[in-house]
């Protein structure tokens, strides 16, 4: 049972993070970053690591992290979501870092977690393939061992920060195998021979994606062979929670923007916020945002206290689905409330709208998570009978 309260320390941490992003990375920064050569702001990124320790907030102190948990990670992402932070945090600090935390040997963790936690390198998890699916079962890419070396073949898609990543964690399976078993994780460094990175054109320019072509790429096995399935489940549940936090941050920023505008804008001699059509839209938005927040907070707590797999996956599905819906609806409503100007490039709303569209399908659609949620709840009910 989740408690759903934040301690005073956590609230102070949130204030600190919120102030940092508000001041150092307002939305104008996302605009600059997304159209820059690198696609992110390397200096800001390094500050997140070295100066602030945010890239390692959830990494054990032994590996150079802060040793906090999923709740603090959720706070970071929520505040990043508010400003549509444009950088490799979600791909590197969440997906890749969790993959190493959950799936690598101690030696591998010692080697890669400190530079990841310090934002000295960028990590990227390459799981999905053309056609999508964020689970071990969909993996087609193959890993063949010969003469003591693993070689990867195949295509990965929707890979976050592929163009800028230093380290790829790639899921591949034994040749000829099928199903979620027989899938392993591998580490490949950027620039490895046979690894081709093709940037994809994305709806959300603040979250760059790539396609990876693997042609006999030399790779290092992470952890045990054939053990990727449970690892990926833990990683993806945690990542879904983190993404949900980012989405509720974005949704809250939209609500704030819509409400401020409705308090300023006059039409027909009245503030538009005094019209029921606008008022009720804002109230519904608030309800959706608060429900999504509760889901995200509850899920972060479940992840933080190493809840049972069942409890976490249920909460993660809830958080991801409600977060995506609230974010997308808030974006559409905020455009609508801003009227014509809400549809312009100059207005920030479209950055959130595009982030919402992208986040909706990243890691799985709300429909897929809704279906799973029913499965989980029903299974638990039957088990408890």
């Amino acid at each position: 049972m989740s408690q759903l309260g934040f301690s005073d320390e956590q609230r102070q941490f949130r204030d600190f993070v919120a102030r940092f992003f508000r001041e150092q990375s307002p939305v104008t920064r996302a605009r600059e970053s997304m159209s820059s050569e690198a696609g992110y702001d390397p200096e800001l990124w390094r500050r997140l690591g070295g100066e602030l320790g945010l890239t390692g907030v959830h990494v054990p102190e032994a590996y150079g992290g802060q040793g906090f948990g999923a709740v603090e990670l959720g706070i970071v992402l929520e505040e990043m979501g508010r400003v549509v932070y444009c950088g490799p945090y979600f791909g590197s600090a969440v997906l890749a870092t969790y993959a190493l935390l959950e799936g690598a040997t101690a030696a591998q963790q010692e080697r890669w977690l400190p530079p990841l936690a310090a934002a000295d390198i960028i990590g990227s998890l390459a799981l999905a393939e053309p056609g999508g699916g964020w689970e071990a079962g969909i993996v087609q890419a193959s890993a063949r061992k010969s003469a003591g070396r693993w070689r990867l073949e195949g295509t990965k898609s929707y890979v976050l920060d592929g163009r800028t990543a230093d380290l790829f964690i790639i899921a591949a399976r034994e040749p000829g195998s099928a199903g979620p078993q027989a899938v392993s994780l591998f580490a490949v460094q950027a620039g490895a021979p046979g690894l081709e990175v093709e940037p994809l054109q994305t709806v959300d320019a603040t979250r760059p994606l790539s396609r990876l072509r693997l042609s006999g790429v030399d790779a290092e096995l992470l952890g045990e062979p054939g053990a990727a399935e449970p690892v990926l489940r833990r990683v993806l549940d945690r990542a879904a929670v983190a993404l949900a936090s980012e989405m509720v941050g974005g949704a809250q920023a939209l609500l704030d923007s819509a409400v401020s505008y409705a308090k300023l804008r006059v039409q027909f001699g009245r503030l538009i916020g005094s019209f029921q059509a606008i008022k009720h839209k804002c109230a519904d938005m608030l309800l959706a945002v608060e429900l999504a927040k509760s889901a995200a907070y509850g899920a972060a707590e479940a992840a933080a206290r190493e809840a049972s797999v069942d409890e976490l996956r249920e909460a993660a599905a809830l958080a991801k689905a409600l977060g995506a819906e609230a974010f997308l609806q808030a974006a559409a409503d905020t455009i609508q409330i801003h009227g014509g100007s809400g549809f312009t490039w100059e207005n920030d709303t479209h950055l959130y709208f595009k982030r919402a569209r992208g986040s909706e399908v990243l890691l799985g659609t709300p429909a897929a998570f809704r279906d799973r949620f029913v499965e989980y709840v029903s299974a638990r009910e039957v088990a408890h009978e």
């Binding site: 005073d8 309800l287 509760s294 029903s378």
Partner: protein
Amino acid sequence: MNEPAAEQVREEVRAWLAEHWDPDLSLTEWRRRLVSSGWGCPTWPAEWFGKGFSEALGEVVQAEFRRAGAVGVASSGVRMLAAATLLEHGSEAQKAALLPRILTGEDTWCQLFSEPGSGSDLAGLTTRAQLDGDTWIVNGQKVWTTSAHHAQYGMLLARTDWDVPKHRGLSFFVLEIEQPGVEVRPLRQMNGHASFNEVFMTDARVPRDMLVGKQGGGWQVALTTLAHERRQADGMRNWGRAERGEGRVYRELREEQARVMEPYKWYPQRAGRVDLILPVARTSGRLADPVVRQEIGRALMLERASQWTARRARAARELGQPPGPEGSLGKLAASVVARAAARAHAAAAGPDALLAGPDAPAEGMVAEVLLSVPAISIAGGTDQIQRNIIAERVLGLPKEPRDDVDVPFRDVRRNPSSV
């Protein structure tokens, strides 16, 4: 305000209970002891049947009562709204005369606020009270009155001045129900239940000393009632735990609870009975249908998030943090959950959604859900009013321009049918 220590209170209440608690007393006898001792409402003022304790100390007392299995004062239903209102606004004489029988459960109360012509716009009510000598003469009609048919008293809000703005011309009275000028008729609802009444007042009489608060100050008094009603509605989920003890006092308590709960028995259906969705879907075989699962998922997710939102508000309160918006959304969230639940039930039931009664899914509960859910977006403030309140009070959006609040009520447009 020097409070005794918890330990001391615990010992005192234990000693008192050891001496006085007796499950073979009649419920009224036992509660009279509670009232006269002050242990029944320890957080009430010492001069009014309480002990003037803090909430925390009150919790200590309650814990000892639970430990001993001792029954408390009558505390459910509309009577507690009356008690809270009288405690805050009543005269000395009113408190002395009315509070004890509320606490013993001897008196049942009802609330006479809403009228056919004023639902959302409560302050627009037109029941008229005119002073004739020492008696107020009341004419008008009230509606949506729970339990009026067995109530002794009604909290009556009536208009005593038509020449001032609407909120300033109302007065709050205690009306005796059992009198010739008051007629109570049951009001049947579309789901077949008749848990409300219409109350017709024709030259009904209220003694002058049964005005609560000031003449023309009824709106402020009613706000106290409404605030407690909201709190009670929030707590409704925990109602009706059956007492299991043996002895006369328990028997009478169970009867009292059954009587009090009767009008509310369909409220869980009104809220959508989310708990029944999966069982219904399993029975119908539709749990495997991906489209049905989406509807079910929507309802289950909204329900879960809604529960967690209430818990968030509670957690913030317990941690002493300022309340966030999450505390104001319960009523609207309940509507959203209930609607989603109705859709899920219909999808899960398939063609059996055509049926009612014992042959129908969940012994007719699904049919009752489908026919009860529409009420949740209306009762106790429509969704539209809730959205206005949330937008204005929580989000700070500007109010709509109004022209009915600053002019004499006499000049305000109102429903042609109203008196």
